[in-house]
Amino acid sequence: MTHVNIDKVDVDARRRAANIMRESILPILRDISKLKPPKLVIPKRTLSNTIFDPEKGILVLGEEVLERNLLDIGETRRFMQTLLMASIIYQALIENEYPTIRDLYYRGKHTIIYKDLTRRHKEENTWDEQSESDSALRDLEVMTGLLREEMLILSKEKGKVVGDMRIKSGPDVIDLSKLGHGAYAIESTPDLIEFLDVNAEFVLVVEKDAVFQQLHRIGFWKQYKCILITGAGQPDRATRRFVRRLNEELNLPVYILTDSDPYGWNIYSVFKVGSITLSYESERLATPKAKFLGVSMTDIFGDKNKKPYISESERKNFIIKAKERDIKRAKELMNYSWFQTEKWRRELQLFLEKKVKLEIEALTGKGLKFLAHQYIPEKIQTKDWID
């Protein structure tokens, strides 16, 4: 056990998470001591219990709960797994450790040796695959309302940020404008970051790491006073939480730039309303005010009152034929209520009509300067985005 370099923010977060965890498990103990069959009440993480809350503009879990009763032998194993995971996290919180989800898997992986009815020796693992321990962790997140970041569980860092901004992480103050060609990796516990001061007017999130690097090197964020962020593909939770905090706490508008295809639109959707399979996180991770800057279908093909950004001859070289699964994905997106605005309907219809897509690199193919000094600023200035 070490107390070195554990600052107050960290300690408080640990104490808070440990207490919430303990309070949510204690009723089980009370039931057992009263010889009442104990049960875990867990909000359902199913698709049918995932609801779009139009007021908040995010995906949330519905009212449905599942009861995991110890005496229901179909559920006993998962009952055990949930409690096992709770105890590992609880102990890690108290002992000032920072487990990863892989660590949690290994710490809880025990072999139970027992004899069955016919007196034969049997062996069973508390969990076999990490998918089982991950599932137990997700159950605990919805049960306690604590996100894994709040439980000080680390995951791989994926997101990056640069910009004219100072933050405090642990005992250190970091200047996000003095990182050279590099960038600050958004840490697994973004809630422990303290925003010190910021000199920016908006946040630009780009889907692709390569485009992030290009914009960084060309000095885009300095020139246009923005915080530049990438989630490098599907964003991790820390990146989403960080973006949310920038929007919520610093009131910075957030623009998102992705490929012009259903995959890119889905990344935007995850930032904005949350992920369908993990909707319980949206409450803290989603940024409902995020705006889709591009690349839109009308940027390629133009519209009644809009000239396309790409000429007809360029179009031939830049666009790619949509694949079958892109079409399928687009049709799925059309079913989601938050894609049923007029603008989105137009985008998706255009896509299904033309059956082509465009990668953001195609715009840098036209010249990085076109992207940095014409396309992005012009779109923001003319409010040519989709909300």
């Binding site: 103990l29 001591s33 069959p37 009952f79 709770a86 040796i113 027992y114």
Partner: protein
């Protein structure tokens, strides 16, 4: 004191030529089986028929022979009532002399069997039968060696002796040599003895084979069925031959006396009414009817008796085994997981009372076969041959075991015992019972009822097993659950890593809780309580 059989002489002679086939002496293998069977059944009748716990010893020895014939000596000894020396010659040396030609439920009938064996022995080996016997009250043991004079149907004594009896022994030992085929007879003989041991678990039976192998079925109970009582024939159940015998032997002076004295269920008023119906004078001399040369009158009397409404026949002289003995017998042979039996009340077919008893055993050492093993008995005699012709087989093969949640192949034994003063055998071989509707109905009712009880047991067992599986599933997770809960129960301020066994209070509470919510009967847990059982399972759970 000892009750002696009521021996009576009968007047039919020269029977064997015909009887050799029908009595089951058609070939040396069958003859050996039949000889053992006749002797053993006589021994059982002489013991359990008189309230004596049977001790039966069977010896089969090879006898050296000068020619190519294979010979053996069969000796059967019992502790029965014994045969008095005066009747010994005729009991073993005169065909159709028998104590059994009265209406009583005994194993043998007509008293032909043992004499057929004697005749068969003397014809095939030229040797004599040796009988050693002593009755219960006698001070002497008597021995006679004799053969049958086939022309005159008379016993001829070759040698005799008597000894003062030193102890209290009583019983009979019969020994004779016959032509035999042991290798071919062996499996049937062993099966016969085994099935006898099942139905007579109160008997102590030892068999020594020619290979000097000893097969021993020790007595497993001292409980015996009540001995059968003698009774007079019921008018519905006689034929012309029987009527002739009765008229010959009766001491009655008038037909009224004859009807009243020689039949059961016939009183004075009934007798008068019946005689009036058939137009016979009540004071007519019975012997006069014997002068009716072509038997037309006798046939008319028999037919009229069948149609006339007499009181139903009495059944209290039938000797069923009772369900307890059947269960004991099946248990001793198969150690089944489940066994039950039914003894039905007596019923009547064609004027003959009968009782059907059925036992059903499941599991244990019973092999799983496509069809249940069927053990058939008639008046406590195992029936081995002609199974597929038997009424019990007919009933059994129509039963759909799936309806009773049993998937064949399954380990099932069905035992059917028919007790009657007249078993409706299918043929003269007396190895199968014909499908008399009344009998078939009773057998079916018994088997179906037992099958229903078996189904109840199996579904009960299934529920128990389900509960047990549940206990194991819960018990194996208790250590892990308890440890986890104990860790979380400790507040962050007083945190210390878990000590070994620190979670014991939670384990105990969980055991109590599970025991409260899961009902497991004593059937499976044995003597221990559910809590102890869970604790046992947990004590063997290891976590690594």
């Amino acid at each position: 004191m000892s009750r002696l059989e009521n021996f009576r002489e009968m007047s039919v002679a020269e029977f064997f030529a015909k009887y050799r086939e029908v009595a089951g002496f058609s070939n040396p293998a069958r003859a050996l089986y039949q000889t053992i069977r006749e002797l053993v059944e006589n021994s059982l009748d002489a013991t359990d028929g008189h309230g004596i716990l049977p001790e039966i010893r069977i010896f089969i020895e090879k006898v050296n022979s000068s020619n190519e014939k294979s010979l053996c000596r069969v000796t059967v000894e019992d502790n029965g009532i014994g045969v008095p020396p005066t009747v010994m010659p005729e009991a073993f040396g005169k065909v159709l002399f028998s104590s059994k030609y009265v209406i009583r439920q005994t194993r043998g009938m007509y008293g032909i069997g043992v004499k057929a064996a004697v005749l068969y022995g003397q014809v095939t080996t030229g040797s004599y039968v040796e009988v050693i016997s002593s009755t219960k009250g006698s001070s002497y043991i008597y021995m006679k060696r004799l053969y049958i004079d086939m022309k005159r149907n008379e016993p001829v004594i070759v040698e005799e002796a008597q000894w003062r009896k030193p102890g209290l022994w009583h019983g009979t030992r019969v020994s004779l040599a016959i032509e035999c085929d042991w290798p071919r007879a062996k499996s049937r003989v062993l099966e016969y003895v085994k099935r006898t041991a099942i139905i007579a678990p109160y008997a102590d039976i030892i068999l020594q084979t020619p290979e000097e192998e000893i097969i021993y079925f020790p007595r497993t109970t001292r409980k015996m069925p009540k001995p059968p009582r003698e009774s007079k024939p019921h008018p519905h159940g006689i034929d012309v031959e029987t009527l002739k015998q009765m008229l010959t032997n009766t001491k009655a002076k008038t037909m009224l006396e004859f009807m009243e004295a020689e039949f059961q269920s016939v009183g004075k008023i009934t007798a008068l009414k019946f005689l009036e119906t058939i137009g016979l004078k009540h004071n007519m001399r019975p012997k006069k009817l014997l002068k009716d040369s072509n038997g037309a009158i006798l046939a008319r009397i028999v037919d009229s008796m069948r149609l006339f409404k007499f009181k139903p026949p009495r059944s209290d002289y039938l000797s069923p085994l009772g369900k307890e003995l059947i269960k004991i017998g099946l248990t001793r042979m198969y150690s089944p997981e489940w066994v039950d039996a039914i003894t039905r009340p007596a019923r009547v077919y064609q004027g003959h009372p009968f009782i059907v008893e059925v036992g059903l055993a499941y599991g244990g050492s019973i092999p799983s076969l496509e069809e249940p093993i069927l053990l058939r008995y008639a008046n406590k005699i195992p029936l081995i041959y002609e199974e597929r012709e038997d009424v019990s087989y007919k009933v059994l093969k129509d039963i759909n075991w799936k309806n009773y949640e049993i998937n064949m192949p399954a380990p099932i034994v069905v035992l059917v015992h028919v007790a009657s003063t007249k078993i409706p055998y299918r043929g003269v071989g007396k190895e199968s019972i014909s499908d008399v509707p009344e009998l078939e109905q009773e057998i079916r009712a018994c088997i179906l009822e037992l099958a229903r009880r078996l189904r109840r047991y199996l579904s009960y067992k299934e529920r128990e097993a389900e509960a047990m599986r549940k206990v194991v599933v819960l018990a194996k997770y208790i250590p892990e659950i308890s440890r986890s809960l104990k860790i979380i129960s400790k507040s962050p301020d007083e945190w210390k890593p878990l000590e070994p066994n620190e979670e014991k209070d939670i384990v105990d509470a969980l055991i109590k809780l599970i025991a409260n919510y899961i009902e497991v009967s004593k059937l499976i847990t044995g003597k221990s309580s559910v809590e102890d059982m869970i604790r046992d399972i947990i004590s063997e759970v290891k976590i690594s």
